[in-house]
């Protein structure tokens, strides 16, 4: 019955699409846009709500089962019956996918509610909700699929939904290009992903999770598989994750994706789609746990991405761009955890990040709504008095992402840092620590510049600044509560012991049946114990907050001076380290050149050949025309010549 989890959004999308987006309702039933929007919004949100309720129901069911039996499988039909390669449309609801499903459906529901308010006056209201439902449908297929091809279907499907939603306001060319860029960059990652799936099938003879993973943990089977193959599988799958989850070097699409509506940024590019890569790698933990090389590659790239994105975020002036780079950075954290083998920690951060990043994005959407679509934080300031609910929830989100103790972000981030350090990746730990400082810095900077201080709001929009309607503020409040309390499902043991509780890391215990090889090794001698590590992360966060406070609240002129002093660095950071320009130079321009050459070849050579044949036919016809001149003598001559030729042939043969 778990198929209904994905069927509800599909039905919602079909209803919205056929009735409203196509204009059918408008033609047949009347012209009241308000009613149309209401019904459309209710259908879409209701569909996701039903999915959420179902997911919760099955989650509770799972809890009632034995930990080692926690999976519900439902096969619907055989999709590809091709001899050895038989793929069926099979769904699996186990601990790992239940976590993802709950996050997707519940946060999705909140964002649907928010969107009803945010997209209220947009003409493409129904189309928007159709696309959103399509997205939820494919994302659920991705996490609930029981085999790699089905996951890939979801993978591609969310890529499609992302493209449609980023370029939602396609009348503006730049926005359309952003959608196209997202899809193409994604595609590059997908190529690696497909190759990984091929390799898996080649080695394991199946693409079904149960079959593959059973063989992968069997030491007899694995002794016959060369280590480099497992590394190759791991790295190819990671390429897919790099594309989908915007790691270096394929992160360039995510900041551009901010061209889409803000709730889309919240749902797709913060909470769910970009985390698909992390989910996929957590699902495939057996490969990574058996390949130290792949793990090193993953952690290194993740760490580099985290700090790179953070260095860009501190100079950005668009509220959504700051959050976009922040997402890239936090995804780096998730992949760092997965890279060292702490899958549960990575997933935990995925969940808490979903809470506070969605909160931050929705809050920024509220700000943009209040500011009549202005997104530049240099034109904001002092908004706290005008839009208090947004301000407070945004502050909670900021503190959560910075890692302030007792909020959700603190628990998940700290667990990651501890895991990285414990398994001996000291340099990466230092990089991650620096990124903590930077994260706190840019987030607090964002908050202060937007909500505090003197108001720099232009006169023209100052009087229109108003708090958002309830449809938008209630999800903000819900997410704020989750950001505060959400961390307590994963309190590490050493902290729980302080208050006399054992085994407090409920999250890790819950997810562990999906983690098939225990990879918790402690490498080397440690200088720092648990508490010291926690202290480091708290200290880093505090440092960042203090610096931000100093620069943007106490001495507002200081950032300008610093920027002038280090101008080249500042400009490089502001221009995203010129990565886009580099790609354009290396890839896009040669490719355009090739395309132009191909087009010219097509025009001149191929069309030329075709036209040339036509011209030749015409010339021949003109030449032959002279044979019908009407001059009898030439007719007679030709006949004589013809007869002579025939005679010659007869004689010669």
């Amino acid at each position: 019955m778990i198929v209904w989890i994905i069927l509800f959004p599909m039905i919602g999308a079909i209803l919205n699409g056929l009735l409203f987006a196509s204009g059918f309702w408008k033609k047949t039933c009347g012209g009241d846009e308000h009613t149309e929007h209401s019904i459309s919004g209710i259908i879409a949100s209701g569909a996701v709500l039903l999915s959420a309720i179902l997911s919760t129901y099955f989650f509770v069911q799972l809890l009632s089962l034995n930990p080692s039996d926690r999976q519900i499988i439902q096969e619907l039909f055989v999709w590809i019956p091709s001899g050895d390669f038989t793929v069926s449309f099979e769904l699996m609801f186990d601990t790992l996918s239940s976590v993802m499903a709950l996050v997707i459906t519940w946060i999705g529901f909140l964002i649907h509610i928010y969107s009803i308010g945010y997209m209220h006056h947009d003409k493409g209201f129904a189309k928007y909700f159709t696309y959103l439902n399509i997205f939820v449908f494919f994302m659920l297929i991705l996490v609930l699929g029981n085999n790699f091809p089905l996951m890939f279907v979801g993978w591609e499907g969310v890529g499609l939904a992302s493209f449609l939603l980023i370029g939602f306001w396609y009348q503006d060319n730049e926005k359309a290009y952003a959608g196209r860029k997202a899809f193409i960059v994604n595609r590059i990652g997908d190529f690696g992903f497909i190759l990984g799936i091929f390799l898996i099938f080649f080695i394991f003879g199946s693409v079904n999770y149960q079959d593959v993973f059973a063989k992968a943990v069997d030491p007899n089977f694995m002794s016959l598989v060369p280590g480099v193959t497992i590394t190759a599988i791991g790295l190819l799958l990671f390429v897919g994750a790099v594309g989908k989850s915007a790691q270096f070097p394929l992160f360039v699409w995510l900041p551009d994706a901010m061209a889409g509506p803000t709730p889309v940024s919240a749902l797709i590019h913060a909470a769910t789609m970009v985390t698909a890569g992390a989910y996929m790698m957590a699902r495939c933990n057996v490969f990574y746990s058996q390949s130290p090389t792949a793990q090193m590659v993953v952690v290194s790239i993740a760490a580099f991405t985290a700090i790179l994105a953070a260095t860009i975020a501190i100079t950005q002036n668009d509220i959504k761009k700051v959050l976009a780079y922040s997402t890239v950075s936090q995804l780096g954290y998730m992949f760092m955890a997965i890279g060292v083998g702490a899958y549960a920690a990575g997933l935990f951060h995925l969940v808490t990040h979903a809470f506070f990043k969605a909160l931050l994005f929705l809050g920024s959407g509220s700000v943009i709504h209040a500011m009549s679509d202005e997104q530049d934080i240099r034109k904001m300031g002092g908004l706290r008095k005008k839009i208090p609910i947004t301000a407070i929830t945004f502050l909670i989100g900021t503190l959560a992402i910075a890692g302030v103790p007792f909020l959700s972000g603190f628990f998940s981030k700290d667990e990651i840092l501890a895991a990285v350090y414990d398994r001996g990746y000291t340099i990466h730990w230092i990089i991650a620590l620096i990124t903590v400082v930077l994260t706190a810095l840019y987030m607090v900077r964002l908050y202060l510049l937007t909500f505090e201080g003197k108001s720099r709001v232009p006169q023209s929009i100052k009087r229109y600044v108003h708090e958002s309607p309830y449809s938008m503020t209630i999800p903000l409040m819900v997410l704020a509560v989750l950001s505060i309390l959400g961390g307590y499902i994963g309190v590490p043991d050493f902290m729980g012991k302080v208050v006399g509780l054992h085994d407090t890391n409920l999250f890790e215990h819950y997810v562990s049946p999906a983690i098939l090889i225990d990879n918790a090794k402690h490498v080397g001698h440690h200088l720092f114990g648990h508490w010291a590590l926690a202290g480091f992360s708290i200290g880093g966060a505090a440092l960042g907050i203090i610096i931000a406070f100093y620069l943007y609240s106490i001495r507002p002129s200081a950032p300008g001076k610093i920027a002038k002093d280090i101008e080249p660095l500042y400009k490089a950071s502001y221009n995203k380290w010129y990565v886009d320009e580099l790609y354009d130079y290396i890839f896009v321009q040669p490719f355009s050149y090739l395309c132009n050459q191909a087009a010219r070849f097509d025009q001149n050579v191929i069309d030329g050949a075709v036209n040339g044949v036509a011209a030749a036919v015409k010339d021949t016809a003109l030449t032959l025309q002279s044979a019908q001149s009407g001059v009898i003598r030439s007719y007679a001559t030709l006949m004589a010549i013809g007869a002579a030729v025939i005679l010659i042939i007869i004689v010669l043969w």
């Binding site: 005679l647 010659i648 004689v651 010669l652």
Partner: protein, 169 residues
Amino acid sequence: METVVFYVFAALALAGGLMVISFKNPVSSALSLVLTLFSTAVLFVLLLAHFVAVIQILVYAGAIMILFLFTVMFLNLKSEALKFESKHLGFKVSALLVILLFVGYFASLGFKKGLFLSNTSVSEMEGFGTVQGVGTTLFIDYLLPFELTSILILVAIIGVVVIAKKRAR
């Protein structure tokens, strides 16, 4: 003896043919054609085709050529009408020679293939080439074509009358 006669009259026939195609004046061409026809008739006699030779002189050289000459003189061609004759004479003569060479070559090819029988080993029927022989063959074996030929002549006569009739004004 036979050889001499053959070559002489063959030469005459060829000369006549060449003159037909070269003279500007149609009367001269007609008279050359008569020469050719006569020579061919003699060659027919050499081939023991006596009846046919006489028929050729009577009908061809007699009736047909008279018809030609009659028409030529009837039309009373002015000398301007004859002025449009050929330029590039040298070109045409050389073209003719080339064609003749061609013909000679192919004829010799044909000989090598042994297409033709020689003069000697032929059993001749009774009255070969005489009126009696022609008559026998014509009225016994080829009676139908004979009748059809007469119808052809009838048609030709009617056609001529129709074509040459003056249009009613």
